[in-house]
Symmetry: C2
Subunit: 335 residues, 2 copies
Amino acid sequence: MATRPDNARLDDFIARVTSGEQRAGARLMRLVDDRHPLAFELLQRLYPHTGRARVVGVTGNPGSGKSTLVDQLIRAYRERGKTVAVVAVDPSSPFSGGAILGDRIRMRDHATDDGVFIRSLATRGHLGGLSRSTNDVVTVLDAMGYDLVIVETVGVGQDEIEVVKIAETSVVVLIPGMGDDIQAIKAGILEIADIFCVNKADRDGVDRTVKDIRGLQLLAGHLAEGEWEVPIVRTIAPQRYGIDRLVETIDKHHEYLEAPDSERQQGRARAREAHVLRSLTRDRLVAAMERALAGTDGGPEALFDALVARTTDPYSEADRLVRSVVEVLRGEEEE
Amino acid sequence: MATRPDNARLDDFIARVTSGEQRAGARLMRLVDDRHPLAFELLQRLYPHTGRARVVGVTGNPGSGKSTLVDQLIRAYRERGKTVAVVAVDPSSPFSGGAILGDRIRMRDHATDDGVFIRSLATRGHLGGLSRSTNDVVTVLDAMGYDLVIVETVGVGQDEIEVVKIAETSVVVLIPGMGDDIQAIKAGILEIADIFCVNKADRDGVDRTVKDIRGLQLLAGHLAEGEWEVPIVRTIAPQRYGIDRLVETIDKHHEYLEAPDSERQQGRARAREAHVLRSLTRDRLVAAMERALAGTDGGPEALFDALVARTTDPYSEADRLVRSVVEVLRGEEEE
């Protein structure tokens, strides 16, 4: 690592990030994206400066009006004197360019406002990787000093649930008249939702949707259990209808977690750290598996062909591959 | 392992499974579900008997009429003299009982038909686990001798894409008038779709939906690329409209893959084996991570608390945890 900048320069860079300099922050996020050798060390150094931002997850299907809603949340929190960063996560975005274009359009509205920062993340191509990338970006934004970090995800599948595990408060956005969609609000979503937001509340069927959510909550026993009764807030984002109430509800959840003599805040924070640690570790193990696979005798294609020919079986080969992973990791440790 | 049945009994059990005895097959699937110590060995022994079934993936959002469509596919293939097994995968099913109830209702229609077998899989709770479970169930059904194994998944997220990777032919089901949903047909889905099925084709907006799919295909360059032009088949499942055409299209894709002097079938089979091997290995690595975490000095909660307090950082701890995983795996190897 002959090109490694000296410590003074790294310290200076870290200082620029923690002072909230947007250019330095964006640069670090790019280093993280590119898995630059320095990214890891920089994130390590940054970590003591984190843990102060409130992280709010906003998740919902495409077409639920999430972007406009998040935009209104930005405005509302800015009016309350808070700085806001947004990580927009799209696990299945087809064209990485699209995400960046979207960033520019969305940033334009806040271009002159230093108190707002928006960053998009598209798919990282493999299971779990997106969750780790999101965590890293939140780490940077948190260290930059934003009061609020909104993690916005498209879709309500297992991926999104993974991504939102980093949030202190999770808002699940639904719209009326999507009876089919209600079916899709499965256990995972009920478990992560701290607040339901029924957006486009001027549409037909809004009462039905609210009733359906309550029914599902009752069915799953999520209403009676905790002390926090998961509220349902109705909004019409473009008209700002319900936005103040949504902000109050998000803040109320924060106060609920922070209530003195309650262990809630600590419990949430602990779950979040556990999630971050697991994502990072899983990511490294999967990467080691790929390296082990690439180093298979005769190449991985020969192994796959042998499996197709049924001259071996994947159960025995998985055993062998796990042993190779151990060898790969031990070899790298000794270096 | 004092209670391990002798080899003769295991051989007998395997013979019953490979002869297609449904009770034996169901029993093995339960052993696999419960991660019974014998399951692994039985799957290993079964593997040489697999690779003959055609695996067809059917994926689509809730409300797309997938179950009825799959039901019609079962009938159509039964009329053609083929035996059919279905694995219905729901990554986010809230109540495991629901899946079983659904099985019973669906099985009722085919209760007297030995040529049909339906099995549901609900969420296994962690990333990637569902994919491995699906693979194992397909292995059993394949060994049981079913001509066709349909893997039906709810939703079109990354999880479902993972699950469907085992299929030779993937059918993606959409319905008209879900403009929002079209947005959700992102790269992953375009990449896995061998056939698009626009179900509920008597609804308004069917032409628009077909046009939207074509537009997305063009945009992503998926139409011109391969020799297989991904067809769009219109169906109205309850009326059996379009079902014959769908079956013909699925069969045509099979013939396309099998075309002499083409490497396609081998390529698909190789990709499938690679996917199965990766799922199995990833699952074992993640399980080892959990064991390593459980064995942390002072317990995992103390570690999470230290992370919350910022007296350590997750990047260093992930390094340490990876080293513990290596120790755990080496220790187990020596046993």
